[in-house]
């Protein structure tokens, strides 16, 4: 398959692994953060950690848009959609995320009309096909998915389709990275930059990480060879004492980003003054809300949102895992009270969540001779 097989070639991957081992200075311990949850999953799914020397450590970042949502927002969305004529529509990923009184799938089993959609346009279609009901689309995602939500709202307004609204939980990536770098617990050497967010925002927004913080950033694709190549590029910069932004994912990411997508977002969204992130606390200007010009299609402006703040269960350490301070297996609840079937937090069920990735792909792996003797 084009664009997949070449980037999974065993020979090239093995070569990249060797290059990493050559570049890694044995007297250093490298801490590299992959920001995006999709990268975390790819790393575990392809077993890439097996190829890294012991002194190149990958730290999982907070780039999981479902994981960073506080439970209160899930509760709010489900409360809004509890009306008899409502349809709660969301991506599949949302369906098992636990709210205080259950996940959307559990609400569905109790009688709420909950539907999985594959894009916001599908949610709009649902509204067109069900004129007697109100479709509420629970929108999540970083800048990757925000443009399609924006375009859907533009279309809804153009069609005057009033039985449709969006409960907007889009967040932006740069403030999250800033919060990580500002945190005293974190010492990082560089970043594997988010691949799909960058197709929208481009590579410029990461300049300050290199210039002001002195950390190299390599925007990476999601195939095994992409990720390994990005680590090679980071190690090269670190060896040369450089700190710049590079684009490994050139076949998909334009340096300047996608102007049309950014324009659509600007038309529909503005930044909230602040927003609460699980694990990172309140961050100013870090989330999107729908403008007044689209008030009719904003669930929050049209209906009353309970707005209750719900703290995570005391024993859960979701916040620390999100920040990369703890590895998933170090959380006290991991694999015991918290599993993919009975999740305590979203990190264990989201396809971008690091706990889910670790649990599903890694945590019962035998220690191989190779990994034990590495470096």
């Amino acid at each position: 398959m084009k664009f997949v097989d070449e980037f999974r070639s065993p020979e090239l991957i093995t070569k990249a692994g060797e290059e990493i081992r050559k570049l890694a200075d044995p007297s250093r311990h490298y801490r590299i953060m992959e920001v995006c949850g999709g990268h975390t999953h790819a790393i575990y799914r392809f077993g890439l950690k097996d190829l890294l020397p012991v002194n190149v450590e990958l730290i999982h970042g907070p780039g999981c848009p479902v994981c960073v949502l506080p439970m209160g927002r899930i509760d709010d969305g489900l409360a809004l959609a509890a009306e008899p004529n409502f349809i709660f529509a969301a991506f599949g990923d949302m369906m098992r995320v636990p709210g205080t009184n259950g996940s959307p799938l559990e609400y569905k089993a109790r009688g709420m009309d909950v539907r999985i959609v594959y894009s916001p346009a599908d949610a709009l279609k649902l509204a067109r096909n069900n004129p007697g009901k109100h479709v509420m689309f629970f929108a999540i995602g970083f800048e990757t998915t925000a443009p399609s939500t924006a375009l859907t709202l533009v279309r809804a307004k153009a069609e005057g389709l009033l039985n449709f609204s969006v409960f907007c939980n889009h967040v932006t990536i740069i403030p999250a990275i800033r919060a990580i770098l500002d945190s005293p617990d974190m010492r990082l050497d560089g970043f594997v930059g988010p691949g799909h967010v960058s197709t929208v925002i481009g590579c410029r927004p990461y300049d300050w990480i290199a210039k002001d913080e002195g950390k190299p950033v390599v925007v990476s694709g999601f195939e095994p060879l992409d990720i390994l190549q990005s680590i090679v590029m980071l190690l090269r910069q670190l060896r040369n004492g450089e700190a710049k932004v590079e684009n490994q994912y050139k076949r998909v990411v334009p340096w300047e980003g996608n102007r049309a997508a950014l324009r659509a977002m600007a038309e529909v969204f503005e930044l909230r003054p602040y927003f609460e992130w699980r694990g990172l606390g309140f961050i100013s200007q870090s989330a999107l809300k729908i403008r007044a010009s689209y008030a009719q299609w904003d669930s929050e402006q049209r209906f009353t949102v309970p707005g209750v703040r719900v703290t995570d269960p005391k024993a859960a350490q979701c916040g620390e895992v999100l920040k990369g301070v703890l590895k998933p297996a170090q959380c006290k609840l991991f694999g015991r009270e918290c599993t993919p079937e009975q999740p305590v937090g979203a990190l264990m069920v989201s396809s971008e969540g690091s706990c889910a990735a670790y649990y599903n792909y890694e945590h019962r792996k035998p220690v191989t001779i190779a990994s034990a003797a590495a470096f």
């Binding site: 890439l48 990757t144 019962r364 035998p366």
Partner: protein, 348 residues
């Protein structure tokens, strides 16, 4: 007949969810935690695809299955064919030739007769092809809205083949994993046939068929080495092998590059973030075969019509205990667990 002392119920969930029918972990919890203690007593032994019953010294296998699928018709088949082949296959992988099937229909009032007729025809044809007699059945009709057009349930009995003794306990270190053909065809076909996704794969069809001819060849050529068989339906290859790993305590290591899968299935899975190992199959089966007879087993399948794409895809090892591991050519590996709930496509 003596009453079976009921064992303790371990199923603690307050209500039944969709996940309990998906064939993965939740299903297993329901069966092991509620049905088994109440119906099979304190120590029922491992639960297989069919029950073995002794009547006057003859060993008979018996199995039942129900079919709930949407849409009723899809490229490569329909619910009627699934209903016959599914039960024939459950008997086949238990080492039995299906002899007779009885059918139950639960029909929704308002169902057009021509739809029912089409399915009954399909069942008759599938039964004829599989060489099994449809011996009788029952019909119930429920109110409009209480059944998704039709639910079909089939119960089959079969005669156990000689020369094969299968049980998870007989699986040994060094045994090989044999797969009859490409995975994921059925599940992806159904997903695309639902029309929710803007994806098309013109060449993709459900793989529904009777696997008995292949099982028969296998048993005749290498019966002494066949330790265990299963048809990987809901929950896919991963779920079947995880069940085995749990039952026998060993590890099962699969070699990713050896697993046969069509490009269109692979592509759809990549796009949706699904693992092909979790996708349902309706015309394939897995067998664990001794190392000495593995090659003979493989060749017997490849020489049988319909078995040309059989592959040896892995082996039984000590580690990781009770788990399934998939390895890649470049030295990476990942654990593959049983399916949790329904496979849900990812966001970004």
């Amino acid at each position: 007949m003596a009453t079976i002392p009921a064992a303790k119920i371990r199923f603690r969930e307050p209500q039944i969810e969709m996940a309990h029918g998906a064939g993965g972990k939740a299903s297993r919890r329901l069966v092991e935690g509620l049905f088994a203690p109440l119906l099979f007593g304190a120590s029922p032994g491992p639960l297989g695809d069919a029950a073995q019953i002794q009547i006057n010294g003859t060993r008979i296998a018996m199995t039942t299955d129900s079919f709930v699928v949407k849409p009723l018709r899809f490229p490569g088949g329909s619910i009627g064919e699934l209903a016959i082949n599914g039960t024939v296959n459950d008997l086949a992988v238990s080492g039995a030739r299906a002899e007779a099937i009885v059918v139950t229909f639960v029909l929704e009032a308002g169902l057009p007769t021509e739809i029912l007729e089409a399915e009954v025809r399909a069942m008759g044809q599938a039964a004829g092809k599989a060489g099994v007699r449809i011996a009788g059945g029952d019909t119930k009709v429920v109110e409009h809205g209480k059944a998704d057009k039709m639910y079909i349930s089939t119960t089959g009995i079969g005669r156990l083949l000689s020369g094969v003794e299968i049980s998870p306990q007989s699986v040994q270190l060094g045994d090989k994993v044999l797969l009859s053909g490409p995975i994921g065809d059925h599940g992806i076909t159904i997903l695309l046939a639902r029309g929710d996704l803007d994806l098309e794969a013109d060449d993709l069809r459900s793989d529904t068929r009777s696997v008995f001819p292949l099982v028969d060849s296998l048993v005749q050529a290498a019966g002494a080495g066949v330790r265990w068989m299963r048809d990987p339906t809901r929950g896919g290859v991963a779920t079947s092998l995880n069940e085995l790993a749990r039952d026998c305590g060993h590890g099962i290591v699969l070699f990713e590059e050896k697993i046969p899968i069509r490009d269109s299935v692979r592509g759809a899975c990549e796009l949706l973030g699904l693992d092909p190992l979790h996708i349902a199959n309706e015309g394939q089966f897995l067998a664990i075969v001794s190392a000495e007879l593995a090659e003979t087993a493989l060749q017997s399948l490849r020489a049988t019509p319909g078995g040309e794409e059989a592959h040896l895809i892995g082996e039984v090892r000590e580690q990781p205990e009770s788990s399934v591991l998939v390895t890649t050519l470049y030295g990476g590996s990942r654990i593959v667990d049983m399916l949790v709930g329904d496979p849900l496509p990812r966001i970004c």
